[in-house]
């Protein structure tokens, strides 16, 4: 299904885009299995219509919103962002959606709303990865941002890519895109948004706090304990001519986001 949108060049990279087939067949979406091809294979088992999102916590307009109402009065934008996975590969993807700040503002976050927490759908009947016996993930998948990160101009709520509605494996019908952070921060298939004063505990940090931090900003200076983050394979990467590129701090978005972390020791708050 094609989605009309307005291209926003000031937030878009001109780097070569990852082919649609790769971006939609090589995914991490553990709700459908840990293999890269599992989401494309099994995400069709999820129903995304109708979809509603629960908004709760420290805000003026909590409630359960139908997806259409959540997005209604806004015009879709297209932004081409770099996506850097914590596993040291990356893609360039044209997203379609709305600035997160625009949506959040309408819920009137209170003065004690310091963080925004997000949750993915939990439904083992539709999500076979959640039925796995030996998964260490305590479902549902949880992510979060500091409110000022969420309100940053780059933070984006996507409903589509490459001019079309999001395929299920890419996090339909509604997903976050925070391009200066590792991909796992960009939570998929969102069903809950909560404003809160305390920092939320996120899924990956609760499994392995020494490997995945709350901030998870792309940073070539801080290695993952199991591998280096200095370089990345920009996909598609060939076997004989691997497409290695240097990883950039904040995934190259320092101009827009570095000020958020002024004075913080990023090797400690990774």
């Amino acid at each position: 299904q094609s989605l009309p949108s307005t291209f926003v060049p000031e937030y878009s990279t001109r780097e070569e885009q990852t082919p649609y087939e790769d971006a939609t067949r090589y995914n991490n979406f553990y709700e459908f299995g840990t293999g890269k091809g599992d989401p494309a294979r099994y995400a069709g088992e999820m129903t995304v219509e109708p979809w509603s999102v629960v908004v709760e916590g420290a805000c003026g307009k909590p409630g359960t919103y139908a997806l259409e109402d959540l997005l209604k009065p806004v015009e879709y934008q297209e932004r081409v962002y770099r996506l850097r996975c914590v596993e040291a590969w990356s893609m360039v993807i044209p997203w379609i959606g709305v600035p997160l700040a625009e949506v959040l503002r309408r819920f009137e976050p209170g003065s004690n709303a310091k963080f925004v927490a997000f949750e993915t759908l939990y439904d083992p009947e539709q999500m076979r990865g959640q039925r796995s016996l030996f998964s260490t993930i305590d479902w549902p998948y949880r992510e979060g941002l500091r409110l000022d990160e969420a309100m940053n101009e780059l933070s984006f709520l996507a409903v589509g890519l490459y001019g079309k509605t999001l395929p299920n494996q890419n996090g339909a019908p509604l997903r976050l895109v925070v391009p200066w952070k590792y991909g796992f921060k960009s939570i998929k298939s969102i069903v809950k948004i909560r404003f809160q004063e305390m920092r939320p505990v996120t899924t990956w940090e609760s499994i392995a706090p020494n490997e995945y931090g709350f901030y998870a900003n792309v940073n070539p200076e801080v290695d993952h304990p199991r591998w280096s983050q200095k370089r990345e394979r920009r996909l598609p990467s060939g076997l004989l001519s691997p497409h290695w590129i240097e990883t950039r701090k904040f995934n190259g978005y320092g101009e827009q986001v570095a000020h958020l972390y002024r004075g913080m020791d990023l090797s400690k708050f990774y």
């Binding site: 990852t18 082919p19 790769d22 067949r25 090589y26 553990y30 299995g33 840990t34 890269k36 091809g37 590969w89 990865g129 796995s132 016996l133 030996f134 998964s135 260490t136 993930i137 499994i207 290695d223 304990p225 199991r226 591998w227 280096s228 200095k230 370089r231 394979r233 996909l235 598609p236 990467s237 060939g238 076997l239 691997p242 290695w244």
Partner: protein
């Protein structure tokens, strides 16, 4: 079970090449996706581990079936294990590391260290797997080759440590491994798993 042994050996040889031909086929038909190096490295590593477990199945199979041919393909499977381990290591160096960051990788990353240690043990066993080495080592050969149990444990640790969240396959393979070790304890006692200790002279 009247299969002639040379034919049986040939069948096992062809079967042991299946993981490699599977990778080659997927590569040819572009079924490996946008990051083939990573996928190939993982599949070669898994093939090595599967071969190693299969090698350890041969003695129990021979005892359960009373057919000695199983033991006659044990060395071949052990060498296939080493073959896949070599390819896995090369693929990791070439496709995943791009020959960079070697020092840190092999000293600071514990799961890599486990894999490397397992590889070194397998190399030692492969190098001493031939008639001449067996003859030269004499009664020291068997205690030396009990290092295979340490190698499989290290390899399993190396595999488990790479799990991000779902450890189902690691648990499944781990159970097979434990079963294979357990039958040996039952038949030959704990001492049969301890490497390098020479048998008492009797």
């Amino acid at each position: 079970m009247a299969l002639p042994i040379p034919l049986f050996k040939g069948v096992v040889f062809v079967l042991a090449l299946l993981p490699l031909s599977g990778i080659a086929w997927d590569l040819y038909s572009a079924g490996l996706g946008p990051d083939p190096g990573q996928i190939i490295t993982e599949r070669l590593g898994l093939a090595a581990f599967q071969c190693l477990l299969l090698t350890l199945c041969m003695t129990p199979f021979a005892r359960w079936t009373g057919w000695s041919a199983w033991v006659r393909v044990r060395r071949m499977l052990g060498l296939f294990t080493f073959f896949y381990a070599c390819l896995h290591l090369l693929a990791f160096l070439q496709f995943v590391l791009g020959w960079s960051d070697l020092g840190t990788t092999f000293t600071q990353r514990p799961y890599i260290v486990l894999g490397a240690l397992s590889f070194l043990l397998l190399a030692m066993l492969a190098a001493t797997s031939f008639q001449m080495a067996m003859r030269r080592l004499g009664r020291r050969w068997k205690p030396l080759h009990r290092l295979v149990y340490l190698a499989v444990l290290l390899a399993w640790g190396h595999y488990l440590w790479q799990a991000r969240s779902d450890i189902t396959p690691m648990v499944a393979y781990g159970m097979v491994m434990l079963l294979l070790l357990a039958v040996r304890v039952r038949w030959f006692g704990w001492a049969s798993l301890v490497p390098l200790r020479r048998p008492a002279r009797g």
